[in-house]
């Protein structure tokens, strides 16, 4: 089951980043994280990137578990990433960009370690 373990963490990170993109397309969260209201262009870009990253998270889950279990697992992945982001926005919104960069770096760890 090495593959599933390898793809779980990347799926979580991608889902987190995707949700962050969607959040940044919203006025309140954009203000919390980056300050100010997003421009129309930036809002669209954040939305687009967000959905694209969620698509990649789906792909990672399917790659790790196959279609049937992958889609079931994706619900768990989305819940975990979303829950983490909710807490992040509540307690440390300004640090989220840096935190996301760190997470993106750790995304490759399972592939290296396993």
């Amino acid at each position: 089951m090495t593959t599933a373990a390898m793809f779980t963490w990347p799926a979580c990170v991608l889902a987190w980043a995707g949700f962050l993109g969607l959040a940044l397309a919203m006025d309140r969260h954009h203000d919390q994280v980056l300050g100010g209201r997003p421009s129309v262009l930036r809002r669209r870009l954040a939305m687009l990137t967000g959905w694209a990253l969620l698509g990649l998270a789906t792909a990672a889950a399917v790659a790790g578990w196959g279609w049937s279990i992958g889609l079931a697992a994706l619900w768990g992945v989305l819940g975990l990433a979303g829950g983490g982001l909710v807490l992040g926005l509540a307690y440390a919104p300004r640090r989220l960009p840096a935190l996301t960069a760190v997470l993106a770096l750790t995304m490759w760890l399972p592939a290296v370690l396993f």
Partner: protein, 510 residues
């Protein structure tokens, strides 16, 4: 729609909280059982465990009609053996069982406990009442849950807009509403799946007319040749070594073998039957009935049974839903994800119940004091939420404190669970509501925080199941302690109603 959501949630809320809490723990029921038998901690699975089990059965259960080996796996390191002595009664009651060390093949004597199975059973059959009745009650609660989910999506129209919003420091109902929404929406697909599949699992009880014919899938054994067992016991014939057979079967199935059954061991026509541990994908989940039947004298394959053959589509779908609900296919990573989603569901139910009270507190204060119904609900919340957490902690402690050799030990553990729960109900009635929350949450946090010390030997042995249990226990203790601490702070100045509301709102995130 709001009234439907609130009342569907409230009327079954405490039951749903109990179902969610014990059901979430039940995702790890094997691990919980393992933790509750410290005699088994630190076992190492060795290669060739199956043959060691066979040796043990040869010397301890000669002349049995059937031997069964449950092989150690990542969730339980024990090698289970069971045998049916000649002339034993039909069914499960006819089996004798023992537990062996997989590395040495010596018999182990763990303490008697219902372990995680009690929490699992309680989750859908409650306790101390006829099974059918309990399933009816849980089934109806599940329907209410489904109604609450659907009406909740309509009631909280803003949930998708506010999906990432959680404002823990806002007083009053706002932060409770945020918590309720966030846990509900983020795990929404999980809630729908787990509730719907739960309903399907109980459908046999609620709508027995749906299952007229023989139920496939459940009765996996099919044409087991027990009837022919009467063959004369001629000079004992050997059973071939199992290790190579198991290796071949694992290559064929692409997954581990879960159990081995030898029918009529040592007699002519003896057969070995291998079964996979679990299916590796959902569409093949119905195939947990796959079997390989081999000749015990030379290991030749007699036949391979395709577990899904002859299964109707309905049965197969039912099996898939069943497997999904119980995460039976799940390897550890996925099991943890399901567990986290289950925790979110538990918090969702709890925050919904507290929200009902918080929302009405100000109103009642304006109208000259709380009504009797309100007072009942707020106290039921204490006993139903904090009390159940305390009772669960009590169950684990009972497992460690009761003497290992006590007669009827497993029943005593369960009795203590209910005694503690009853005590918390009494406590919730006699103490002021806020003190009740603080005291029960505080004691539960303390009990859980110290609990890992009682599994110290397993921790030091590096037993991953024991370590996982300790981590979850500590995290839960931290959450409960946080809630208790915030509730115990002096309430902010203001009108009594506002103070009460703030007090309720800031605490309890069990």
């Amino acid at each position: 729609m709001a009234w439907l959501h609130e009342w569907a949630g409230l009327l079954t809320g405490w039951l749903l909280f109990a179902i969610f809490l014990t059901g979430t723990i039940a995702f790890f029921r094997d691990e919980v059982t393992h933790w509750m038998q410290p005699e088994l901690h630190g076992l190492r699975a060795g290669a060739g465990a199956a043959d060691r089990g066979l040796d043990w059965l040869r010397s301890n259960a000669p002349g049995a009609e059937m031997w069964t080996l449950t092989l150690p796996d990542e969730r339980s390191p024990v090698l289970g053996v069971a045998w049916r002595p000649a002339g034993a009664p039909e069914g499960r009651a006819g089996f004798r069982r023992a537990e062996l060390d997989p590395a040495t093949g010596t018999e182990l004597h763990p303490r008697e406990t219902a372990g995680g199975n009690f929490l699992y059973r309680f989750h859908f059959e409650l306790y101390g009442m006829p099974r059918e009745t309990a399933r009816w009650i849980v089934g109806i609660a599940t329907m209410f849950m489904f109604v609450a989910i659907l009406s909740g999506i309509i009631t909280h129209r803003r949930i998708f807009k506010d999906i990432f919003t959680f404002r823990p420091d806002k007083a009053g109902q706002r932060s409770w509403l945020d918590a309720h929404n966030a846990t509900a929406v983020l795990a929404l697909p999980f809630h729908v799946m787990i509730t719907y599949s739960g309903l399907v699992l109980l459908a046999g009880t609620l709508m027995p007319f749906l299952f007229d014919g023989p139920r496939g899938g459940g009765e996996r054994g099919g044409e087991r040749p027990q009837a022919r067992a009467a063959a004369a016991a001629s000079p004992a014939l050997p059973v071939v070594p199992l290790a190579p057979l198991i290796a071949a079967a694992e290559a064929r199935w692409g997954g581990p073998v879960g159990s081995v059954t030898v029918t009529r061991p040592g007699r002519p026509g003896a057969e070995i039957e291998l079964r996979p541990l679990h299916a590796t994908s959902l569409p093949t989940a119905g195939r947990t009935g796959d079997r390989l039947i081999l000749d015990a004298a030379d290991g030749r394959q007699i036949r391979a049974v395709d577990g899904s053959a002859g299964m109707s589509t309905v049965t197969e779908i039912n099996t898939v839903i069943n497997v999904l609900h119980r995460a039976r296919f799940a390897e550890p990573w996925l099991r943890w994800l399901f567990f986290v989603a289950g925790v979110a569901g538990t918090i969702m139910v709890a925050s919904g119940l507290v929200l009902w009270v918080v929302k009405r507190a100000a109103q009642h204060a304006r109208n000259g004091g709380p009504s009797i119904g309100f007072r009942i609900v707020e106290r039921l919340n204490v006993a139903g939420i904090a009390g159940l957490c305390l009772a669960t902690a009590g169950y684990f402690w009972a497992n460690r404190l009761l003497p290992a050799g006590l007669a009827g030990r497993a029943d005593w553990e369960i009795r203590i669970f209910f005694l503690v729960w009853a005590a918390t109900a009494l406590h919730a009635v006699v103490r002021p509501v806020r003190r009740g929350w603080v005291e029960q949450l505080g004691v539960a946090a303390l009990l859980l925080a110290v609990l890992p010390l009682t599994g110290l030997s397993g921790l030091l042995d590096g037993d991953t199941r024991v370590i996982g249990f300790a981590l979850v226990t500590l995290a839960t203790a931290a959450g409960l302690a946080h809630a208790a601490r915030r509730l115990s702070r002096p309430a902010p100045a203001g009108k009594p109603a506002a103070r009460r509301r703030a007090a309720l709102a800031t605490g309890e995130r069990a």
